[in-house]
Amino acid sequence: MTEETDWVPQGIDLERPSAARLYDYLLGGGHNFAHDRELAERFLVAQPNAREIARHNRAFLRRSVLFMIQNGVRQFLDLGSGIPTVGNVHEIAQEADPTARVVYVDYEEVAYAHSALILADNPLATIVQADLTRPGDVLNAPETVGLLDFTEPIGLLMAGVFHFVAPEKNPQKIIADYRDAIAPGSYLAFSQFTRDLMPAEMDRIVEVMKSSRDPMYPRSRPEITELFDGFDILEPGIVPTALWRPDTGLYDGDDPKRAGIYAGVGRKR
């Protein structure tokens, strides 16, 4: 008889590009390797607007964090946080309130190592190396338990990451597990790629990302709405990132639908 074995240890794989380093490159960062940049160039061919999309998504993250701060949230769980770049959640939150606490979660080795390096001197922010699709691992990690108070509202951040979660992994259940762990009055900030806005480009992106270690699964607005089960979706609803409570004055006049990503914020009932 023959059976599968998966105990071969996984090392660091720099040959295969990662979404975290691709994102960093699109945002103008230097934390990436030739293979990541090569993928990024192909990504840009598939979706010439990729840099704007990354920028808008990053801006949405910032606005949603500030929105939660204004609503009294002082602790954040940033799932799929990626490589620290400009405007990290702890910088945004702690600039608003130095006592704000942030737990980052990423399973990619370099993102983890880099975050750990940057956060080494910050007692109120930490990183857990875990797979966000295994809520138990994340929620029971000593870092999480040590820093977050689950009886108080928590800002759950899933910005530009859920399009990496395959439908087979039961996304509904994953979010439900996090939702059940956090107190009522907690918030979920969520954004992910969709075919609704730019279908042709999206299809090309999906194709490009198949060669990375992070293939992509775009979702429609109804599918995204379903993921907010148990949350009241706040105004303005599930919208292109640029349209979610934009900063007046910085609107760049571009067609917001070219964001390619839907975003929304919900409040746990």
Partner: protein, 684 residues
């Protein structure tokens, strides 16, 4: 990009720049903050252009601050320079100065961006190094764990190429294959496996053939090892030696069925073999079963130590096995120092005595270990039966019963099973074992039997005794189980309650109640305390009570028997001896302890003494005995007097008191009262 609005107005120039930034870069700050940053930068740049000569260093710092302010989108610099150039020119600045200043901005920007990128790469390198070290450490741990499992496993493990050639083999597999690890290079597992064409074999069970040619059954399990890309790279084969499992299994079963010390079958095994032999023996064949118990084995153990004891047991086992070699026989060690030998004969069997001699003949030869020569003698019980006549369990039980009987007879004896003796023994055994339960259930009572003065056959006291309805001799049975130690105090306590009754009934200056104590009760260290308490509770003079101790127990100095005899006299109780058979030693004891009464044992072994010729030696001796006892001041009594003829005989001999069927069986106090009163009426 936005078309450039021609404007010399500073405020509108800042707004235009802001639009470029917003469209090209992600700046983690509010619009107002960004606008004030840009406004400051523009002021710096304007000052640099206006200076003469152009302050390029100041302009370069504007470029640097664009980088630190995150105005670093792909198109941010180009867009910014375009807006700023147009604005400055429109503002009337010298075109050469403007070009020169913007060039300096670009230079400053490029330099800062380079440094930022280098910093990020440096960070990246450190992060990468850390991550690699972590991964390396994890991998090492995994590998160490794997190594440990790999080398220590008793299951054979091989990592093979996909075509089956060995890449790595663990020591267990080399042992299973019967081939050193280094000789397995470039060979494959398939070379060792006999191709199975038997479709009934389970798929993972294989026959393995070793280089020497011998074979072994194994369980074979294989799995695929995949590389990082998910493609199969190696196979892992796990091989479990079934013959070793089977070996272990049979060793366990051997341990279950055999005695580890002697290697003989144990009781469990013997019983099942006996049953099998019994069931399979040809009709009419005779079975002889011997149970042997080593004499004084515990003495060997305590004197010479357990090693010597063990050696003796092994020697006996060996000699028994040798003795019956060549016969259809089975030898077993059925208990610590008990052995059993079963011999199956044909239709005719040699006499039992011959079989016993055959089996035990060699046992008593001393076995020398250094200076110490130990010889074993054994008590033997023998049972013989036709296979058809009895069950195997019955045969074993019979031999065991005969052994017990043999042990009672003495050492180095053999006894053949006697069914009548066995029946008696079993009945007594049943009664004895039932007694404790009867006592627990309150079925035992105290009964009284009259004791008469032989001169006129008038009742003078009662004997209290333990009575179980329907059973003859509760106290004898109690003695067999040790229950009598508990029964003694109970009997004394219960009976003394009636002392006032007997006191008023009989002559109060002599004992009015007698209790005969068994050997165990006589030796009981708590006896005098018990008696003291009972008398105090009943509030009667101690002299009303006659307590007779067992003569052999006193003679042997068993337990506290002698102290008890002395202390009872000190208390004021009438101390007596019973089971008295005579002889100088017993008489000496009676004299020394100045006993008040002596109750004779059954001196004539169940025979009626009054039927014996008066000049026979036993009769004469008894007469002498009674005279001797009377001479030292002891009152002599007898038990079990059958009728008045016998009573007169004893009276003629000089005996003072008697009890027995002639004077009434045990009864309750009311029975005694009515009997004594009617006797008084008759005599008066």
């Amino acid at each position: 990009m936005q078309p450039l609005e021609p404007s010399g107005d500073r405020q509108s120039l800042v707004r235009g720049w802001l639009r470029v930034v917003a469209a090209t870069a992600y700046v983690p700050a509010s619009a107002a903050d960004v606008e004030s940053l840009l406004s400051g930068l523009l002021a710096e740049l304007t000052a640099a252009v206006a200076a003469d000569p152009v302050d390029t260093a100041r302009a370069a710092r504007v470029g640097e601050r664009m980088v630190t302010g995150a105005l670093t989108g792909e198109a941010t610099l180009a867009g910014s320079l375009r807006v700023l150039g147009r604005g400055l020119l429109d503002g009337g600045h010298d075109p050469v100065a403007v070009v020169s200043a913007l060039g300096a901005v670009a230079t400053g920007y490029a330099g800062a961006l380079r440094i930022r990128t280098l910093d990020q790469q440096e960070n990246m390198k450190v992060a990468l190094l850390t991550a690699k070290q972590r991964a390396e450490r994890d991998r090492r741990h995994t590998e160490t764990r794997f190594r440990e499992v790999f080398t220590a496993s008793s299951i054979g493990i091989a990592i093979t190429e996909l075509d089956g050639r060995f890449v790595e083999v663990n020591p267990a597999l080399a042992a299973i294959l019967g081939c050193p690890v280094d000789e397995l290079a470039n060979r494959s597992l398939a070379e060792f496996i006999v191709p199975d064409d038997d479709p009934n074999l389970p798929g993972d069970r294989k026959l393995l053939i070793r280089p020497g040619g011998d074979t072994a059954w194994v369980y074979l399990t294989t799995s695929l090892l995949r590389g990082d890309d998910g493609q199969p790279v190696y196979r892992v084969a796990m091989v479990q030696d079934l013959s070793e499992l089977q070996l272990l299994g049979s060793r366990l079963s051997h341990q279950n069925l055999h005695d580890a010390l002697t290697g003989l079958a144990n009781r469990l095994h013997f019983e099942s073999r006996l049953e099998a032999v019994h069931g399979q023996a040809p009709p009419g064949s005779v079975l002889t079963l011997l149970c042997l118990d080593l004499d004084a084995f515990s003495l060997v153990n305590t004197t010479h130590g357990h090693l010597a004891g063990d050696r003796l047991l092994r020697t006996v086992a060996h000699r028994l096995a040798t003795a019956v070699a060549g016969h259809d026989a089975l030898v077993a060690r059925v208990d610590g120092d008990e052995f059993a030998v079963l011999i199956v004969h044909g239709r005719t069997a040699p006499p039992v005595a011959e079989v016993v001699e055959l089996v035990t003949g060699e046992l008593s030869e001393p076995d020398y270990d250094g200076h110490l020569g130990l010889a074993a003698t054994a008590s033997v019980g023998v049972a013989r039966a036709h296979a058809a006549d009895t069950s195997s369990a019955e045969l074993f039980r019979a031999a065991d019963a005969a052994l017990r009987h043999s042990r009672e007879t003495g050492k180095h004896q053999w006894t053949e099973f006697d069914s009548r003796a066995d029946h008696r023994a079993r009945k007594i055994g049943r009664g004895a074992t039932a007694l404790p339960a009867a006592w627990e259930n309150g079925e035992l009572t105290v009964a009284y039997r009259p004791v008469v003065r032989l001169s006129d056959n008038a009742p003078v006291r009662v004997r209290a005794l333990v009575h179980k309805p329907g059973s003859e001799s509760a106290s004898d049975l109690a003695e067999m189980t040790g229950l009598s130690v508990a029964l003694g105090p109970w009997l004394i306590n219960q009976s003394t309650e009636n002392l006032p009754t007997w006191q008023s009934l009989f002559t109060p200056d002599t004992p009015v109640q007698r209790v005969l104590l068994s050997p165990l009760q006589s030796a009981d260290a708590d006896l005098s305390a018990t008696v003291n308490r009972a008398i105090a509770t009943a509030q009667v003079p101690p002299g009303l009570l006659e307590i007779a101790l067992d003569t052999p127990a006193v003679l042997a100095g068993r337990g506290d028997a002698r102290d008890n005899l002395r202390t009872l006299a000190d208390i004021g109780v009438a101390a007596a001896l019973h089971e008295f058979t005579g002889g100088p030693r017993q008489l000496a004891v009676a004299e020394r302890f100045e006993v008040r009464a002596v109750i004779l044992a059954d001196l004539f072994d169940g025979w009626r003494p009054d039927w014996l010729p008066a000049d026979t030696a036993p009769v004469r001796a008894t007469r002498e005995l009674v005279a001797a006892l009377t001479g030292m001041g002891a009152s002599v009594g007898v038990l079990g007097v059958r009728d008045h003829t016998e009573a007169r005989w004893w009276a003629d001999l000089g005996v003072q008191t008697a009890e027995g069927p002639a004077f009434g069986d045990p009864t309750d106090p009311d029975g005694i009262l009515s009997r004594v009163r009617s006797a008084a009426t008759t005599t008066s």
